[in-house]
Point group: C3
Chain length 506, copies 3
């Protein structure tokens, strides 16, 4: 069976609409890729080592893929996922599959991915990036493994060559505030490298006071910042210092994952007492969860306050129960396919933040959710009033064609297109970046084509909206400098102007 993704794939079935969609899609298909948020490891580009084999590239590290194979009865070890528990060594020698075996398992289960977003991305990666022309199957697995392993060793399949071939204009990574950003510095200093790889400030581990590892994390942060984190003001100062460092190295945004979007804005004294109480409790090993969550919310509030001062865009990803299956977490660690979305609430949770900073011009936040119900109910109305609020793209489980259409349907009539941050790929799978952007462009082209066909807007307006969604809006929302023109919206530039002042909430 040949592997041949159709040129019209994901465009609307109706032939009249498709004709319009095709024209719209063609007008943006070749645009450079803007990736203001994702999880690609900067080492990849800094070191530019070849990918070893297709299983290690496409299967083992992709929890979208391992998750569904696991659901069909394949233990994670058989997919090359390493155990991290105390029995890891003994167990692995017996159970951990070799890349070729992993690839065979994946190919044999290829049909189970029918209809999933992963299948689209995998087909596009195999066909468009890796030049595969046959469907994976038990019969073709070995041949494909050999062919791909050979191909990946070629220079044109190294990360930097792919970065250029993909047409990436800018790629943001996600980085620990204590990171010295050596890989970003190395890339910036390399005269042979003309790409743009920016860090993003992701302080979760320092903000999550409920985690057993929190005190150790604070020590690490203190060392990186050169500021003691033994009291609340020290912790705040250390975070501020690291934000300065990140901004100096090109960061334009911060990223936050939290169980919910709640924030506290306690006065200095109360925050300080709360910090000491939680810190002491960590020493005795007896942490009150409510107290610790409250401190985490307070620290997230500090992040918002800092963003309102330094202009770093605050990306908020909330509403996931991480590591749902304790047994799997204990064996294999986090990010192994069992993070499960929870019901979300933003309208009340964000009120304290938006009352303070919602109309401050330096402040900007991009909101992401896994609970579709908040798209029309809360997020579009919020983004339709607050100049600081941008709608994040459908994310994770929702980063798929039908879900993207539901998102557009849910938010557009209330907030229009221009309160959206455009597409964000949010991926750690480097080779899937073009496929993900391509999917989004096709779906948006199809959505707009339908509006054109329904005479809601004319085609030139639709083309303009589509270009904005995939070029101007992600740049604007994430305050990316335009390398070509060196113009537009640098971080903090508008901080002094102050649309309204911060409301007096005394």
């Amino acid at each position: 069976m040949p592997l041949a993704p159709h040129p019209d794939r994901l465009l609307p079935a109706d032939l009249g609409v498709r004709t319009i969609a095709r024209r719209l899609y063609q007008s943006v298909a070749g645009l450079p890729l803007i990736s203001p948020h994702g999880h690609v490891d900067p080492t990849l580009l800094a070191q530019d080592r070849p990918f070893p084999d297709p299983a290690t590239l496409l299967v083992t590290p992709d929890h979208y893929v391992t998750r569904l194979l696991h659901a069909h009865g394949v233990p994670l070890e058989r997919l090359g996922v390493r155990r991290r528990d105390s029995f890891a060594d003994a167990a692995e020698s017996a159970e951990l599959a070799e890349p070729r075996a992993v690839w065979r398992t994946f190919c044999a289960h290829w049909s189970l991915f029918l209809g999933t977003a992963s299948r689209q991305w995998l087909e596009a990666q195999l066909h468009d990036v890796l030049e595969v022309r046959v469907q994976p199957s038990a019969a073709t697995a070995d041949e494909l493994f050999d062919e791909l392993t050979r191909r990946l060793a070629e220079p044109r399949f190294r990360p930097r060559a792919l970065y250029r071939a993909f047409g990436i204009a800018v790629l943001a990574t996600t980085d620990d505030p204590a990171d010295d950003l050596r890989h970003h510095r190395a890339l910036a200093a390399d005269p042979s490298w003309d790409g743009q790889v920016l860090p993003m400030f992701r302080p979760d581990v320092y903000l999550d006071a409920t985690a057993p590892g929190w005190p150790t994390a604070l020590d690490r942060l203190a060392e990186a910042a050169g500021v003691e984190t033994g009291d609340y003001s020290g912790l705040v100062a250390a975070l501020e210092a690291r934000r300065v460092y990140f901004r100096q190295h090109g960061a334009t945004a911060t990223d936050h994952s939290a169980p919910d979007a709640g924030m506290e804005f306690l006065d200095a004294g109360e925050a300080s007492r709360l910090f000491h109480r939680v810190r002491s409790n960590h020493r005795t090993g007896c942490v009150d969860y409510q107290d610790a969550r409250r401190l985490s919310r307070q620290l997230l509030g500090e992040m918002a306050r800092m963003s309102a001062e330094d202009g770093l865009v605050m990306a908020l990803h909330t509403g996931v129960r991480r590591n749902h299956h304790l047994g799997t977490f204990r064996r294999f660690g986090p990010d192994t396919g069992h993070d499960i979305p929870l019901r979300a609430e933003f309208a009340e949770a964000l009120r304290p933040m938006l009352e303070r900073f919602g109309t401050v011009s330096a402040f900007r936040t991009v909101l992401f959710t896994l609970d579709e119900t908040v798209f029309s109910r809360e997020l579009a109305p919020l983004a339709g009033f607050y100049p600081s609020v941008y709608l994040g793209a459908p994310w994770w489980f929702l980063d798929a064609p039908r879900a993207m259409r539901r998102f557009r349907d849910a938010v557009t009539e209330t907030a229009g297109f221009h309160r959206c941050a455009g597409f964000v790929d949010d991926t750690r799978a480097f080779c899937s970046i073009p496929a993900r952007h391509d999917t989004a462009r096709r779906v948006d082209a199809g959505y707009l084509a339908e509006l054109v066909a329904e005479h809601v807007m004319d085609e030139s307006d639709a083309a303009s909206v589509l270009r904005d969604l995939h070029d101007r809006l992600p740049r604007t929302a994430f305050r990316l400098r335009d390398q070509a023109t060196n113009a537009a919206d640098p971080p903090g530039a508008r901080a002094a102007k102050g649309h309204y002042e911060c409301a007096d909430l005394a």
Copy 2:
């Protein structure tokens, strides 16, 4: 660029379906407009003064429009919205924009409305009502402002002339129970006026015991009703008296906005003690929120009880956080674009009311929500069993083509079409009334055409359903007298029949 809304706009893209939809739409396009609930000011029609200019007509008072411009960084003062705080005078002299400047700002941002419901309504108003033939833009703003200001001065653009031109059969306003309804009386007494403008009883301010202004409101009510409101039974009697007054002046319905749909049915003694406690607390300025909400729920329950006796239809609009941004509320007051929907729950909240009155034939309630999740989960199942429950049209943020389709999709398979109250425009923007009804007729025609094309029903049934949705059902659900025939369903007429008696809940 010409402004020329397409005759087939909002009809389905598929040409076969569109052909059916076009026939269906044509069969209802010219029907009189039934507007059983909205917020048009009766002064408008009583005084019949010309509208001054397009900004004052279309931009400044429309929080759908100002909201989205605000989200794109335009302060409300620049849209002509007057400040209401203590610095208003000083501030306004400096900041409040003149109508021409407001209009320029609006025209320059015209493209930001692409894809929104407002854009549809504005295009239709500009083209169909105001005879504009060019797209608003920075280039055309001044010319349009002058042209429209001249045109609005013509007699045929005065409110009464427009009322007739729009083909409005009946228009309900929303009125304070203490209102003497002088404008309604003036209209009724005017031999040159043949329209039908009915009051609607909206007692929120007397029911919301959490508001600081509640005691003052009770005094105002007492004066209007000629009944002391210093104790619970007095307040109840005053409300009953005003309902009689409103019914005498043509009201067929009451309207209620509440944070949630909960009601209490306390016995007389308990209600009385609760009233005195809350009223005393207001005197000391120290109101217990839970107590006051409980009293509000009790008073809403009294409204349901009264509806079960006098037959006024109870329209319930719940689930909004009003005035989300405190700073904007303090400057500009309420209804300025930052009311944000909240998660809603009806099944449990309405149980006490429906156990008492759900099968009482005089009782009728029309339910509105901004949380789409309850359409299929709760509202359609409730309306599919209780003869007193009608499904309100998609409202506010959901009063838009795609949201309307989602509503039909969500409720029809469970409740059919005939448990819906038909279209309700719910608007304060008088000139948008025909556009809103037209949008609803187009969307319903398209929805039904799709069912015809899928052979779910035949076209004659679809035509009959469509006519019911836009003619019979709003009349029936809101118990409007048919002026032509003077027949059908006057308020309270069926109160004596009693389908079932009120269930004994002892």
Copy 3:
């Protein structure tokens, strides 16, 4: 007006897509019906008595139908529903309608069902099963009643003849654990009967410790099991004994209705104390609701534990407020059309169960919900990781064409097609079984045809998925033996293998 359901009904309107859909549909239209869960009374087939008349067959027992007629003002007595309260005798003599009158009422209201799922099923039953060729109406009611009453007396319309004509391969009933399964045994022992009618273990009444009748139920169970149920371990042993009995008579699954999906896993001592406290409280008539719910959750947890041992598939139906209108419940009893869905939550609620049994290979659960919001947010992600979790078909109010499409849209991109349990009719209306399966096959064919037209998959893959959904997946998910081959997945067969062991949760 003729009654002539169109051969292409429910297939997509777009002619290109429809052509594909028609081919796909034809490929499964004739497949045998797999009904692993429903509420047909086994007496029906065991006794094989003729149905008396169309009202008694199609109207009175179908709460989908009586519900909507009630909403349009028809009292349940007029639909032949018998009162169960203390005034029943007196009332019935006055009010209970005769079948012919019931049928007249139903026919006169025929148009109110337009657009509902019931209308589709009724049209198909009338036309395809009962050979009716005119639309029901006030004018045709009597003629139809006579014609159908005559026809139902013919041998070919008896239940067993219809079972064969419908092409049912296997039909599961829903049975009380104390039931002696005499009808199932009679059928199995009857040499003239070649159908397959399996029992399903439905222990709600023994698990719901909040119900006044719980202690009496335990006594009944004790008698059936021959095990004392006076203490916790006795109750558990009795349930285990009955599961063995049910498995011996062909059961492959258990069915559970609960207000929510929560479970407890208390240690033996605590469970025992809780049991005694709740049981004592029942004696004094003063049951603490929280305590009793906790015991119910504990007993549901025991069911999960037993499933992980004996391999009976656990079907979970949660999130309904049963008997919403107390007055109707008191008169007419349960299942009379006013069960109203509630907001659901699965991710947190199922965690204790899935941590224990989620990766145990003997364990399997099929999850059903009436709250669509959990499809994409929780159920697809859970089924996309846990090998034990299958997605149940859209159920009850959601068992309708548009709702089915929304379900596919919501879950497929995350979980693919093969984590679904396929179609489950879940009906007590025997004659509607073919219509329900046919509807599901049409909708799935249309859904897949759209994916083919959008080049998401090719037609041969789509045909294979469609066949799986309506043949292999319901067999697999519910562990049905394949009678033809006698192969495949008998209950408990895989229990010994243990994919992972139960996680240590100490």
